[in-house]
Amino acid sequence: MGERILIVEDNPITRKLLRLALEQAGFIVLQAADGREALRQVLEPPDLVLLDLDLPDMSGLELAPKLREMLAADAPIVAFTGHVDDDPDRLADAGFNGVIHKPLEPSQLVPILRRYLAGPSRDENLYPGGRVLVVDDDATQLKLEALLLTKAGFEVDTARNGVEALTKARDFAPDVVLSDVLMPGMDGFDLCLALKEDPSFRSIPVVLTSSEYIDEENRQLALKVGAHALVVRRPDLAHVMDALSAALEAPNRPAAENEAGVHTEHFRQVAQQLERQFTNNMQLARGQALTTVLRSFLQQLTELHTPDVDLPSLMGQMLEGYLHASGYPGGAAYRLQSNGKLAVLRQMGAAHIPQDHWTDFFGHLELLHEVLDGGEPVAIPSPAVPEARSREILARSRKGSMLVAPLRLGAERFGVLVLAAPGPILEDEDWVAFARAVMGPISQTLALAQSFALLRAANEKARAITDSMREAVLVTDAEGRITYANASIERLSGHPARALVRQPVERFFPFIDANTGTRLVELTHAGGHRISVEVSTSALEERPGQLSYTHVLHDVGEQARVDQLVRLASHDPLTDLYNRRRFEEELANRLNEANATK
């Protein structure tokens, strides 16, 4: 206790939040708003420096080596940065002992810094390990997370859904559970509640992660269901790992007492997420309509264009088709990844060239980026490429000529195709013209495939939520026609979803209209009997001036109707607030309590 921590951070609010959290944990906090001030503060050396990488007068990378000289050898310097792609090697070279990614809740910082201060092992492994059960319905995501966590020193087991997670929790006995939120059936919130309700799992901390549930109210709900944290998913998992470490050290969080409230809140947020997915779909559908116009262009490539292939394999097929047409069976396709780097997707007909030569394009990967930026096919050798570069590339690949063609459509970039030939033939202007003529349609097909893929993914997500919901969901347009119904509507109303779509809503559900809010109504089942249903309607602006309505129908049943009657005795039916009688009762109670404690 009482260790001295120097915070170097130019944002005064961040600085203050960090200072408060650290002081509360018993640290002595020194502060500096820029590099110069940091160098002055460090004259009396702190035990740890937390260093923002972007400072007004110098960069953290410049400052760190200077601080390193003045600090004790075992005093850690920890980078604090909002960039997720900082090169860890570069940071280590500058004298940093580790990196913490912003944004981070200040309270989570304390256990992390303690670990830096604690052990000599901190240099090798930031994460002390532990058994993690990872839950995600997306197999690729699951594999990736398992891989990264294993590499970071955790022992990992995986589950594809909430039910499997509960079984695995028994066999694997994890120290912590990491779960995705948006999963069909039992979602992350449900799983967390289930774990907290079971005495044998109650003490296992849960970290939730999502790229959809990212609002403050979602975070609040996560805390209510007993999760340790809800972190936004980023590709490098840095936040996730920090949260896992913090969860492993923090005291266990129970789920909130008021369970009915938690369930209601959960349901509300699922419904909201659903709306968001619907909006998302509509935007994508619009984007797709535009792209469809381009389809007439693509007759020559129709055999490749099916909406059911994923983008990488489509690009692979393109390459094969293209190479076949050109008669030169050597080359590679590069795909532009989300991190902005080109990666080899497929290489063909050039078995004598080792894979890693393609990976950095014979030491000149920047040339491919230049071609992609330029948007024009380029031959090697040609006046467009410096002679020394051409010579080196051709010598290393033992090829006579190459043709590099960018795959892009407007601002949208997909990657690069490279053709390689044993002789000098590809530098011929005819080939460049051919490449120019063919690249356009290929890029358009890719754009189309990509928008199909996005649309399908978003659709599946929305479908997964709606179909797993016990509640029935209807969407109506401004004219009162049903545009969507989920599977649960049949159980509730006796009408199958497909019989409802495109029908006027009033024919089946006369009580549904454009009034938003929640109300209790009587529904006549297709079988003739009447049931009590709670309807929640929300409006959504599909495009400017055009509204659609989402109605969630919840079978409240006989017991619920009795509950509703009881509720009416204490609540105002119009506004659902307490009525006068109930309020006066409450007021009297409060005053009595207050007087009693006086």
Binding site: T575, N579, E584, R590, L591
Partner: protein, 144 residues
């Protein structure tokens, strides 16, 4: 001070009801109720007394906090947009504040103090709030 009682009345409710009909009136009341709930703390107790009259019981609020709360409600309500058949409903509130433990000790007396303060706010031109003043005695006969 142990807490505050805010009594709120939706101004110009009757004209809305008379001119646009009961559906519009109901919408105004429902919107006002939702507005009050959304702007209250979870520890506050909210209720509709009847008509266009609502209350918020804010435990542990002192005079300054209660007035800041009331000011926030008056100000934010003016920015709420609630439409009925394409027409914006004019939502505005007057608020009376009484402090329990300071202005009154019993529930009835506290309600009367808040009611009196609300009356003052209405007299002052509506769309504002008033804290109960000791010098003016509570009106007993105003409410049935």
């Amino acid at each position: 001070v142990i807490g505050a009682l805010l009594m709120l009345d939706l101004d110009h409710f009757k004209p809305i009801n008379d001119r646009l009909g009961h559906a519009a009136g109901d919408l105004a009341l429902k919107s006002f109720a939702a507005f009050i709930s959304a702007n209250s703390r979870t520890t506050d107790v909210t209720a509709r007394l009847g008509g266009a009259e609502f209350v918020v019981l804010a435990p542990y609020a002192d005079a300054a906090q209660a007035q800041a709360f009331a000011a926030k409600l008056v100000e934010r309500l003016a920015k709420e947009i609630v439409q009925y058949n394409g027409e914006r409903l004019p939502l505005q509130t007057s608020i009376g504040i009484a402090l329990y433990g300071e202005h009154a000790q019993t529930p009835d007396a506290l309600m009367q103090c808040a009611d009196r303060a609300l009356y003052d706010a209405k007299q002052a031109g509506r769309g504002c709030f008033r804290l109960y003043r000791e010098s003016t005695p509570p009106i007993r006969a105003r409410k049935a």
